[in-house]
């Protein structure tokens, strides 16, 4: 009876856990308010909530409430509360023809939002490219084509006069933002715009424009060097940006791939989860260095480093899987040991994994140079949150009594012996000098004779 009961409890608890895992929403460890603000222009999407219901559902399933608002130049929208704290974790701005996003919002508000750790999914298209959104993107080094420009591809499009409406077999460039599993054979990209890039190393290219595509100004009519925005693969259709504070921005030149009519679940979920920092989030809980002996065993007395000591460095990486931290395994993590320049840049090797983290370590000999050294791990990979850790330690020189003495060095025996022979010869000389008189040699010899 007891056994039966136990089995029943066990089965029940397993079933419950499974059910929990199924229903459990993913969420971001960075979530502060669990709210997302969606701004759309009623002149472009007259029935937004029904046209983009799956996108809104994707946002909700990532652990965030959705606040949908129209873009109206006359009404105010609060991004921050009275204490200048963010009211929203994420901001989604649909393409807009409006002059202003809201009476109180401009590109500086978007900057401020990003500076305070807010994430943004910004969409522009040939139909609408709001000025403040564009200016903000320009600040990041992303230059989307303006409203009148049209993306065309004479080689890969059936209806070339209307421009590109879909990208076939798109090649997504970053596996952390669009994972291998969510590749699509066809990407809806109507009324598309393409962006040019300035040199900003924080920008992550996601989708490059086809080599045969161009964007040109429809109003000018002819395609020429004056009327094109991008030509060939120097344009981009999707770009991501992660700032130093890990706040994310994702830009796409069309919104149709997120509409219900062309919704591709894996792709849309992947992008949104990257933007809202559910995916591609790393952390490190451990950053330790210990003095060890030649064999790598920790020493009992940890009294600071001196030159040529041995040191073991350990760190641990975890990755957020949506609901919990799991070990993050990689082979390209490095430790730098720096004084002005890195003296060492060492690969960290995987030592093992615990429930929630993967442990990395390396053992090395401190260089024969004293001063203030920095242990630094800078794991910054496009698409993943930046892991930057450092710790400064002094490395002292040998103390006066830690050098080998002269008699322990065979080479110096020659010099020591020479010195003592000088001293002995000197003593003999002094003795003879005192004893000897001022007699001429000849007379001394004569005396002897």
């Amino acid at each position: 009876m007891q056994l039966l009961k136990a089995i029943f409890v066990l089965v029940a608890s397993v079933a419950l856990a499974e059910a929990k895992a199924l229903t459990q929403k993913v969420f971001s460890p960075y979530a502060l308010t669990n709210k997302t603000l969606v701004l759309y222009d009623v002149r472009i999407q007259d029935d937004f909530t029904s046209q983009y219901s799956q996108l809104l559902q994707a946002i909700r399933s990532s652990g965030s409430d959705v606040d949908v608002k129209r873009i109206e130049p006359d009404s105010a929208i609060a991004l921050f509360d009275d204490y200048e704290q963010r009211l929203y974790d994420n901001l989604l701005v649909m393409p807009s023809k409006s002059r202003l996003l809201a009476s109180n919002l401009d590109f500086k508000s978007l900057e401020e939002f990003s500076r305070k750790g807010g994430n943004m999914l910004l969409l522009t298209s040939g139909q609408g490219s709001q000025t403040d959104v564009s200016v903000f993107l320009n600040q990041l080094g992303i230059y989307p084509s303006p409203k009148a420009y049209r993306l065309v591809d004479y080689h890969n499009s059936n209806n070339w006069q209307l421009g590109v409406d879909k990208i076939e077999n798109p090649v997504f460039l970053n596996p952390h933002i669009v994972p291998e599993g969510s590749q699509v054979s066809e990407l809806a990209y109507e009324n598309g715009s393409a962006a040019l890039l300035a040199g900003n190393e924080f920008i992550i290219p996601v989708l490059r424009a086809k080599e045969t595509s161009i964007t040109y100004d429809v109003d000018r009519g002819f395609v020429g060097s004056q009327s094109t925005w991008h030509s060939g693969s120097d344009g981009f259709l999707m770009l991501a940006h992660q700032a130093r504070n890990n706040a994310r921005v994702f830009w796409a030149g069309s919104d149709t791939f997120l509409a219900d009519s062309h919704f591709q679940k894996d792709l849309a979920h992947g992008i949104w989860r990257w933007v809202s920092r559910v995916n591609g989030v790393l952390k490190s809980d451990r950053f330790e260095h210990t003095k060890v002996d030649r064999d790598g065993l920790s020493l009992a007395v940890q009294d600071g480093y001196k030159v040529k000591d041995f040191c073991k460095f350990e760190t641990a990486f975890s990755k957020w899987n949506g609901t919990a931290w799991v070990p993050y395994e990689t082979t390209d993590a490095q430790l730098e040991f720096i004084m002005l320049d890195p003296y060492y840049r060492l690969n960290l090797t995987l030592d093992g994994t615990s429930n929630d983290s993967a442990l990395y370590s390396t053992t090395f000999q401190i260089p024969d140079h004293h001063g203030m050294f920095t242990f630094k791990v800078d794991y910054s990979r496009p698409g993943l949150t930046f892991l930057k850790q450092y710790s400064v330690v002094p490395v002292r020189h040998l103390a006066n009594d830690e050098y080998p003495r002269s008699w322990q060095i065979t080479n110096s025996w020659v010099y020591v012996a020479s010195f003592f022979s000088v001293v002995v010869a000197w003593l003999v000389f002094v003795f003879l000098f005192i004893v000897s008189g001022k007699k001429p040699l000849a007379s001394a010899e004569k005396k002897k004779e």
Partner: protein
């Protein structure tokens, strides 16, 4: 202009009838003879010069060893070499003060005083070297 002057000087010399090397050899032998004469007259000078020769040998030996084997205990090399050189310098100073012909330069300094100074300076040198070499 200089060349002209030089040639004129050469002519003058040739006119005197003696080439350079003979001139040089003559002056060297003269110096050597007077040196030997000085030695013969003074036992202390001989003693000092022997000691100086010994110091030069020790210094050269250490230098050759350092060139061949490497500078590794550099303080050892410096200590050993400087002890030889320093002792040489001090001994030469003593030699200068011993010469009667130099008495005018060292007025009021007795030979005993000079020798005392020499011992004092040498002991300081040895003290410094023995600490530096370790």
């Amino acid at each position: 202009m200089k060349k002209v002057a030089k040639r004129a000087a050469e002519k003058n010399k040739k006119a005197s009838g003696k080439p350079y090397h003979q001139d040089l050899a003559h002056s060297v032998t003269l110096a050597y003879k007077s040196y030997l004469k000085g030695l013969q007259e003074n036992q202390k000078l001989r003693l000092i010069d022997t000691f100086l020769a010994f110091l030069v040998c020790i210094g050269i030996l250490q230098f050759i060893f350092c060139v061949l084997v490497g500078t590794f205990p550099f303080n050892g090399f410096l200590g050993g070499f400087i002890s030889a050189v320093g002792q040489f310098v001090l001994t030469v100073s003593l030699r200068l003060q011993c010469l009667e012909s130099n008495q005018s330069s060292f007025k009021g300094i007795l030979p005993e005083r000079a020798f005392g100074d020499y011992i004092f300076a040498s002991i300081i040198l040895h003290f410094v070297v023995i600490h530096f070499i370790n």
